[in-house]
């Protein structure tokens, strides 16, 4: 180990090998996954994310939601019993996400299928504005800065105004309306649902059948 060049070449080869096997190898294998065309109704899956939802993805990103929420349902795990998804997540589910935030912390619940299990957008607005409405004692922060509290204009409440329980309601004559960023974020969350099951992935991930030996 006298020669600096030898050390350099050794380190370089470790790094090159690691990049080539792990990143380039993975890229060759599944970096080019495409949408699947359903044989029956010719729909393309996963469907392209609508523009507003894609903007919401950027709000999700800038608020750092990933620090407490994952977006992945594990194979054959209690995640399914928690109703966080009907099936495990496949790599193909994510090709429509411009940035993928799998996350590695579940201080909050998994959100991969939050759009499928939330009753409606109004629920998510209220959850963002005042999480304590639905989950007293939760440590989820309130995102009230995504909403505007304003006097009711023109005698009639805005159709967008949140229907809040009295404890969380604004002062009389005022209403709480979502800002465009809140609308985008909720559009994104409502769009998070992997409802289509791909035949190829499904067959690959099924448990092996007994007696179907080689």
């Amino acid at each position: 180990m006298k020669n600096g060049l030898n050390i350099f070449l050794g380190v370089l080869s470790a790094m090159l090998l690691s990049w080539a096997c792990l990143l380039y190898g993975a890229h060759r294998q599944f970096g080019g996954l495409t949408q699947h065309k359903d044989a029956a109704d010719e729909s393309l899956n996963p469907a392209v994310m609508p523009g507003l939802a894609n903007q919401g993805r950027m709000v999700y990103q800038d608020l750092g939601c990933v620090s407490c929420h994952t977006q992945q349902v594990r194979h054959n795990s209690p995640d399914l019993a928690r109703k966080w998804g009907d099936r495990e997540s496949y790599p193909r589910d994510y090709i429509r996400d411009v940035t993928v935030h799998l996350g590695n912390s579940r201080i909050g619940p998994d959100l991969r299928n939050v759009g499928a299990r939330s009753p409606d957008a109004a629920y998510l607005y209220k959850l963002l504005y005042a999480p304590q409405i639905f989950a007293p004692g939760t440590n989820k922060p309130a995102y009230d800065f995504l909403f505007t509290v304003r006097p009711v204009q023109g005698g009639a409440a805005s159709p967008k105004a949140l229907q809040l329980p009295s404890k969380f309601a604004p002062p009389a004559g005022h209403e709480v309306v979502p800002t465009p960023r809140a609308e985008a974020l909720v559009a994104y969350l409502m769009n998070l649902k992997d409802t289509y099951d791909y035949p190829v992935e499904k067959s690959r991930n099924e448990p092996a059948k007994k007696g179907a030996g080689h």
Partner: protein, 486 residues
């Protein structure tokens, strides 16, 4: 191949003089970030048990604070401290003064400007939400450019060395100096400049995060351990001939461990499998390193604990071994099924970043700064206080994250437990985490106060009388051992 016979004292002072101001600049910045990052970390931790804390302010919403704290600590404290320690060690071991060090001030300014913009960018809403790459991608270019000016110094100092041989610490520093820009630039390209699609992004992100801990922070910590053990104990590294095996073994196994962070993730199953297999090789390297370092210590724990530097190195080494085992355990599928997505991930990364690297850096700082300034630390009580606070704080933090994480994993895997009850069960552990972070912060404050008091004396017209330091014992090299002939 142990270090050459001790250099002439005057030569060593000349090298120290050349490194003095660049090192003090980097350390000053590191300590400021350590305090600032600690405050952000404390606020973010408080929010987990008191969600109303700072909630109304968008800049300090939990997701942003959490990312900003991590980035301030990793890029502000960790990297600046690693630059300071690494440059000084490299100069000393290469018996070469840092030449034209002026560029290092430029690099220092740009690096810290980059981190400042990055952290402000995260708080202001420009986070990318990729772990440890949350800073806006434009900042990445600035950081890389600044790094180039710093890394090139480590490499040139190494290549103009005035020694016949190289020492283990130099290999580790050299490898780290090369790995960081490689990891960082590839991650920047594959995530932001020419982004890959789908969950491949998570693979790239895990590769970067894992590499940053294993190939940058841990090597710098090991370089510190390999330097100070023989120097301050006065005997060569035991079983030195296997140090090179440990180096290569570590390098080639941790280069492949990143998949272990993606167990059960929606990626092809070989990705985590390769990671787990590589992770199983890592403890072998740790054992060889253990034969080196604990062979050198040889039961001399009393002297280790009595030394202001070696006690840090000792705890850092313990964290290093714990980290190697914990990382393996957490990657095994049966354990990962419970441990995934819990506080245990942070437990492991705390062992690497704060335990292994941070404590080793503190040890080096306590040796280096008084010698660079020619003065003793102004307050011995603050030195003791810092060590006590760091050890107690780290222990408490590890207990909170470890026990809390395991509880969290068990409850998450029991669908009968409502999610709200998991939060309730975790509250005491979140509170313990806040207390631990606070204790650590107090310790860091002690170090910072001591450091700034010491450096302030440089600017007083008639500063305190320069201290004289006991010369470390000479290496007790056996007369003509086989390895001395190499």
């Amino acid at each position: 191949m142990n270090p050459a016979p001790a250099p002439d004292r005057s030569e060593q002072m000349e090298i120290d003089a050349s490194a003095k101001w660049p090192v003090l600049f980097f350390l000053g910045a590191a300590l400021k970030w350590l305090l600032f990052g600690g405050l952000l970390q404390l606020a973010s931790s408080i929010q987990l048990h008191n969600p109303a804390f700072l909630a109304g302010c968008e800049w300090f919403t939990h997701g942003r604070l959490d990312a900003a704290a991590r980035n301030a600590l990793v890029y502000g404290w960790g990297m600046n401290a690693a630059f300071a320690v690494g440059l000084w060690l490299m100069a000393r071991l290469s018996l070469a003064a840092l030449r034209h060090g002026g560029w290092l001030y430029v690099a220092h300014a740009f690096w810290n400007l980059g981190v400042l913009l990055g952290v402000a960018g995260i708080l202001g809403g420009y986070s990318t939400s990729f772990e440890l790459l949350e800073m806006p991608s434009a900042v990445g270019l600035l950081l890389l450019a600044a790094y180039a000016l710093i890394g090139v110094w480590a490499v040139t100092t190494f290549s103009v060395r005035n020694t016949d041989n190289t020492f283990a610490s130099q290999w580790w520093l050299f490898a780290a100096a090369f790995c960081f820009p490689w990891l960082y630039s590839i991650a920047q390209i594959m995530l932001f400049q020419a982004p890959v699609r789908g969950t491949l992004q998570a693979v790239v992100n895990a590769w970067y995060v894992d590499g940053l801990y294993h190939l940058w922070f841990v090597p710098v910590a090991l370089a510190v351990a390999y330097y100070f053990l023989p120097k301050l104990l006065g005997r060569p590294i035991k079983n030195y001939y296997i140090a090179a095996i440990a180096f290569w073994w570590w390098l080639f196994s941790v280069a492949f461990t990143s998949g272990a962070r993606l167990v059960d993730a929606p990626v092809p199953v070989w990705v985590p499998t390769v990671g787990i297999a590589a992770q199983m090789c890592v403890p072998v390297a740790a054992i060889i390193i253990g034969m080196n370092v604990f062979g050198t210590i040889r039961g001399d724990f009393g002297r280790m604990l009595a030394s202001g530097t070696l006690r840090w190195v000792l705890v850092s080494l313990l964290c290093f071994f714990a980290g190697s085992v914990v990382a393996l355990l957490l990657s095994v599928r049966g354990v990962a099924a419970t441990a995934n997505f819990t506080l245990l991930g942070e437990f492991r990364d705390t062992l690497w970043l704060y335990g292994t690297f941070g404590l080793a850096a503190f040890g080096a700082i306590y040796f280096m700064v008084p010698r660079l300034c020619g003065r003793a630390w102004p307050s011995a009580a603050l030195v003791q206080g810092h060590f006590g606070a760091s050890v107690v704080g780290l222990l408490l933090l590890l207990i909170a994250l470890g026990v809390g994480g395991w509880t969290q994993g068990r409850l998450l895997n029991d669908p009968a437990v409502a999610f709200g009850d998991i939060t309730k069960a975790l509250l005491p552990w979140f509170t313990a985490q806040s207390v631990a972070v606070m204790v650590l912060l107090v310790g860091h404050l002690a170090l910072a106060v001591n450091f700034f008091l010491l450096v302030k004396q440089e600017f007083l017209p008639a500063g305190a009388k320069p201290a004289s330091f006991a010369v470390p014992p000479a290496l007790a090299l056996p007369a003509a051992t086989p390895e001395a002939r190499h």
